[in-house]
């Protein structure tokens, strides 16, 4: 009986949890790698601009996602 299991909600929980719960730490990790991984510093000992940009893009997405998630949950019509 479909009334006993809310398949749609459960599938949403799995998929969104995976994207957000595993994706955000992974994105954060990519940002860290861009800043501090091997080859992140050039011969002059500086981090190339493209790596800095990539890293901050990662961090920005992470922060943005968290912020919008909180807003979304807070504004839910309950």
């Amino acid at each position: 009986m479909s009334g006993y299991i809310e398949w749609n909600a459960l599938v949403d929980v799995i998929v969104i949890s995976l994207i957000v719960g595993a994706g955000l730490p992974a994105l954060f990790a990519l940002g860290v790698r861009a800043l501090a991984g091997t080859g992140s510093r050039n011969d002059a000992g500086r981090i190339p601009r493209i790596r800095v940009t990539a890293a901050f893009a990662c961090f920005a997405v992470v922060f943005g996602a968290i912020f919008s998630a909180i807003v979304l949950i807070g504004s839910g019509h309950h």
Partner: protein
């Protein structure tokens, strides 16, 4: 037909339940951050308690489920709410005393269902709501948490394997402040709602005309949020006292992945109005982070305890809830409240005489368990002292090893130093 004194008793008991919930579950939001040294215990307690309050104000979906989605609010009277609430608490206290795995959230739901069954029969329970909103998500959420944390940890460890350990630890500790905050917030959106739902149910029972179609009144939201925050804060001090110096150590990368997984699963479940055991989700995430990091198998011992809690809690608490309602019918509702006080006093006396601990139980598998297992066990059993013991033992082992090693390689070392 309001019975003001009875209503006040029910509300006070619900708030007390909320307080103990916060008190018990502090570890869920804090243990990982403390074990990775991302936060000092004091900061973790403050952060956790204050964000609990904020989280409790964010969403009301779970409260709606408890008040209107599980039992038919139309047949519920104040006696039923009181019987169910006290049944749930009594079952919680008993399992705590016996060292059985339990979940306070499921106990609360079970108690209310049992009291409704006893008063109105099977038609008073919304069975599809009970199964779809409580039982299935409760089974499902820890499994999702294991999966998400495993995938997250695997991705994080893979992407940062060529970053130096120092940098990783430093940066991910910082990131953990964010993920720990989210867990505390999520805890508030799910656990504090349960008491709000019960109080709303009591209000509907006492005055159906006024509260029948209303959502949770503001004073209920605020008082539940504050009760839970205070409980978390007080529980946190117990954790700090227990922790002392030596602790298990967890890698910040794992800690952050585990916390993000818990936060995501709990927040999403709150959004869909699933009242689940936040303890079980946090435990699942820790177990998953172990799997993702080194391909360790799931600790079935701990997963098994969660499964038993899932299987046993609702029916048992329902039985106790029904019995409490019956007692209320025979001897008056205040006798049920008296029963609660008696059981609580009994447990305080017993726990003084023979302190509850699981240390002996863990010895057998502790050696290969590692930090994740220790943390998971401390979460699922609400026993912060489990974070400590392991560390001391391992230290001793390390010392022994080091001594042996030193003796064997003494000559070599001298050569190298010179």
């Amino acid at each position: 037909m309001t019975e003001p004194v009875l209503l006040v008793t029910v509300v006070a008991t619900a708030l007390a339940f909320d307080f103990t919930n916060g008190f018990h579950d502090t570890g869920n939001a804090m243990a990982t951050s403390i074990a990775t040294r991302a936060l000092t215990p004091k900061r973790a307690v403050l952060l956790s308690a204050s964000l609990n309050v904020v989280g409790a104000l964010l969403s009301l979906a779970v409260a709606a489920t408890i008040a209107k989605g599980i039992v038919d609010a139309g047949v519920v009277t104040l006696d039923v709410v009181l019987g169910g609430l006290i049944g749930g608490i009594v079952w919680n206290l008993l399992t705590w005393m016996w060292g059985l795995p339990s979940s306070s959230s499921h106990a609360l739901v079970g108690g209310v269902v049992g009291a409704v069954l006893a008063s109105a029969g099977a038609h008073g329970v919304l069975w599809s709501g009970l199964v779809a909103k409580v039982l299935i998500p409760a089974l499902f959420a820890p499994i999702v948490a294991i999966l998400v944390a495993a995938v997250g940890t695997w991705l994080v460890v893979r992407s940062t394997r060529d970053v130096s350990e120092d940098t990783n630890d430093r940066v991910f500790r910082w990131g953990q402040i964010g993920s720990a905050s989210l867990v505390s917030l999520a805890h508030g959106t799910n656990d504090a709602q349960k008491s709000m739902g019960i109080i709303l149910l009591a209000l509907i029972a006492s005055d159906p005309v006024r509260y029948g179609n209303s959502t949770v009144p503001l004073w209920v939201i605020l008082s539940c949020a504050v009760a839970m925050g205070l409980g978390t804060y007080t529980g946190g001090w117990r954790v700090i006292r227990t922790l002392g110096k030596g602790l298990v150590e967890l890698e910040p990368r794992q800690g952050m992945a585990a916390e993000t997984s818990s936060a995501a699963v709990i927040l999403l479940s709150s959004h869909f109005g699933f009242p689940l055991s936040t303890t079980h989700v946090a435990t699942g995430s820790i177990l998953g982070s172990g799997v993702g990091k080194k391909g360790a198998s799931v600790r079935w011992h701990i997963a098994g305890r969660m499964f038993i809690a899932w299987l046993v809690t609702v029916p048992s608490a329902a039985f106790v809830g029904g019995a409490c309602y019956g007692l209320g019918r025979v001897a008056g509702p205040y006798s049920v409240f008296g029963l609660l006080l008696v059981v609580a006093a009994m447990i305080v006396v017993r726990s003084r005489r023979k302190p509850v601990n699981h240390k002996n139980v863990n010895d057998a598998w502790e050696a290969k368990g590692g930090a994740e297992a220790a943390i998971a066990e401390s979460l699922v059993d609400h026993d912060p002292s489990l974070l400590v013991v392991k560390r001391k033992k391992r230290k001793k082992k390390k010392k022994k090893k080091r001594k042996k090693h030193d003796e064997e390689t003494e000559d070599v070392n001298v050569d190298v130093q010179e």
